[in-house]
Symmetry: C2
Subunit: 321 residues, 2 copies
C-alpha cells in the first residue's frame, strides 16, 4: 500500500509502505481521509515518537470503510463507515486499530469530514469531562480557540450549557470563535488575562491550555476556587514558577493530559461516550465540523505548512483515494 513517508529533509512523500498487521481485536480500515494534528508536526520533527509498538506512520485519526475484522471483533462489521482514533498510521491507504477506537460516523456528516472529528472530540471529551469534570454553568477558558481542539471545545461548552472565553492570534479567528458559540475572546497580544479577569472576576472553572510555560502563572491567577487547569501542550515552553499558596488555598488542580499513550480501554470508553453523548448533536445540527481546507494526501506538505504558520481555523483534512 501507499503511505506518507518522512524524508531526511522532513518533507512528506506519498509512496510505498508496509501493509499494517491486524490482530484479533482489530479492525482494518480502508482510509477515505485523515486529518492533520499539531502532534503530527512535532512527530515529523523527531520530538514525539509513537508509543511502543505503534505505527511509525503519521496520523492520529481517520475515516473510512471497514475492510476486514479480527476474530474477536464484536461490534463493528465489514463495510461499515467509521471514523477512528489512532495511535498513528492515518496518513496511509489502510490502517488497523482496536475495534473500540472506531465508531460509526455521525448521521448527517459525510465520510470525508468525519475524519476531522475523532482526535479533537476525543481530546476534548477526555479533558473537559473525564479530567476536568465539566459541569453545566462552568466558565471555560480556551487558549488557541480557533484550533481544531478549540473549535470543538467551544461547541461542546455551548452544547453542555457552559460559557467559554477564547484567546487567539487574529481578530478574524476570534470572530470565528464567537460566531461558533464562544461567549467572549481576546487577542493574545492584547493583555488577554486582564480581559479574562474582567469577564469572570471570580475566575474561570476550567482552562484547556496547549501553551504551558508562558501562560502558566497567568492561568493560575485567573483560575477560580476549585478550578482545573488542564495542560495539553507546551507550545509556550516547559518551565515556569509556581505559587503553591494559590493551589492550596483555592483547592486548584493542575492536570497534565495527553491522549495518545493512554490505554485502549480508556480510548474505547471515550469513543463510546462520544458516540452516545456527542454524535447526536451533529445529527441535530447543534455541533458541526470546522474544516479549514480539504487537500489531497499528495499535498500533505502544504497542509503542514498551513498549520506551521498558524493559518488554519479548524481542521485540515487530507483526502486519500
Amino acid at each position: 500500500m501507499r503511505a506518507i513517508n518522512i524524508l531526511e529533509n522532513k518533507k512528506l512523500e506519498w509512496s510505498e509502505s508496509n501493509f499494517p498487521s491486524i490482530s484479533d481485536n482489530d479492525v482494518l480500515i480502508k482510509i477515505s481521509a485523515t486529518s492533520v494534528n499539531r502532534a503530527d508536526i512535532v512527530q515529523k520533527n523527531g520530538l514525539y515518537p509513537p508509543p511502543p509498538g505503534g505505527s511509525n506512520i503519521l496520523g492520529l485519526e481517520c475515516s473510512g470503510i471497514i475492510e476486514k475484522i479480527g476474530k474477536n471483533v464484536k461490534n463493528r462489521k465489514v463495510g461499515e463507515k467509521v471514523c477512528a482514533l489512532l495511535a498513528g498510521g492515518g496518513y496511509a491507504e489502510y490502517v488497523s486499530c482496536p475495534e473500540v477506537q472506531a465508531i460509526p460516523i455521525p448521521e448527517g456528516i459525510n465520510l470525508i469530514e468525519a475524519s476531522s472529528l475523532p482526535e479533537v472530540y476525543a481530546t476534548c471529551w477526555l479533558n473537559l469531562f473525564l479530567e476536568a469534570n465539566l459541569t453545566k454553568g462552568d466558565k471555560v477558558l480556551l487558549h488557541a480557540g480557533a484550533s481544531g481542539i478549540g473549535t470543538a471545545a467551544i461547541q461542546l461548552c455551548k452544547a453542555f450549557e457552559c460559557e467559554s472565553f477564547v484567546t487567539a492570534g487574529t481578530q478574524e479567528k476570534i470572530n470565528f470563535c464567537t460566531e461558533l458559540g464562544a461567549t467572549n475572546g481576546a487577542l493574545r497580544t492584547e493583555e488577554p488575562f486582564k480581559k479574562i479577569k474582567e469577564w469572570s472576576p471570580d475566575g474561570v472553572n476550567i482552562i484547556l491550555d496547549p501553551v504551558g510555560g508562558n501562560y502558566f502563572e497567568d492561568n493560575i491567577n485567573v483560575l477560580s476556587i476549585e478550578g482545573r487547569l488542564v495542560i495539553i501542550g507546551l507550545m509556550g515552553g516547559i518551565k515556569s514558577s509556581i505559587n503553591l499558596g494559590s493551589i492550596l488555598m483555592k483547592r486548584q488542580k493542575i492536570i497534565g493530559s495527553t491522549i495518545r499513550a493512554r490505554s485502549v480501554s480508556i480510548k474505547g470508553r471515550i469513543m463510546s461516550d462520544l458516540y452516545q453523548n456527542v454524535w447526536p448533536f451533529f445529527k441535530a445540527k447543534k455541533i458541526k465540523p470546522c474544516v479549514h481546507a480539504i487537500l489531497n494526501i499528495n499535498d500533505a506538505n502544504v497542509a503542514h505548512r498551513i498549520m506551521e504558520e498558524d493559518k488554519n481555523i479548524g481542521k485540515i483534512i487530507l483526502e486519500i483515494n
Copy 2:
C-alpha cells in the same frame, strides 16, 4: 460556657466564652475531648482565619455527647456518643455543627480517644480516596509520616492494600511508622528522595504532602506516570519552579486540598464514607488511634508547644471536663 480564648501574647486561656447558636440542621455536642491540629497553631498566629460564619474558637474536631438537636435533624439523637469534624469551636465545653459532620464513635474506641479521629481520617479519606483515587497496589509517599495525618494514612494504605513510604525527622519516628505498617522510610535529612527512587524506580503513584515549596520539584521527580501529588500544607514554603514537561508527558496531577472550607455536603459525604468504610477497621483492630498524649484543656499551651517543636508522634488530645 468556657472555651479557649487567645490572649494578645498568643497564649491560650480557658475562660468564659459565648455559647454556640444551633440551627435547624445542627446538633449541639457537650464536648468530652478535642484534639490538636497544626492548623490550630497557624490560626492562633493569625494566618488561618476561620471560614465566613465559622466560630472564632480553635478546634477542628471533637468527641462528646449530643445534648440537643435542631428540628430538621434526622439521623442523630440526644445522648448519642459522637465524634465530629468541625470548621472550628472544638476547644470549648459545647459546640454545634451540621448533623452530617457528627458520626457515632467507632466500636471499641473510648470517647476520649475518638476525638483524635475526625480531622485526620476525614483529611486522609478526602485526599487519598476522593482526590487521588487510591487503588489497591498503589505506592504512596507520606511526608511527615509520624504526624496525625501520617499515622492515619499509613494505616489506611495498609488496610486498603497499598504500600507506603514515609519521611520524618527522627529515626524514632520512622521506626514508629514502619511498626504501624509503613513499608519503608527515610530521614528527611538524609537524601530521602534518592531512597524513594530506589524503593520504587518507576515512581510513586500518590504523594500526600504537607511541605510544599521545598519538596515540590523532588516530589514531581519521584511521581509516576499518572501520579497524583496532593498538597495539603506549605510548611516548606509556597514558591517553586515547575517542569511542565514532566506534568504533561507523564500525565501527572497536582491537587491543592484543604478540608475546612469545603461544603457541608462534601464533609457529610466524607464522614458517611468513614463510618461505612473505615470505622469497621477500628472494630476489627486493624486500625488504631495513634495518641501521643492526653492533656487537660487547661494545658492547651503545653500541647501546642509539643506540636510546635515537632515532638509528637500521632495526635495530642485535650480532655475537657
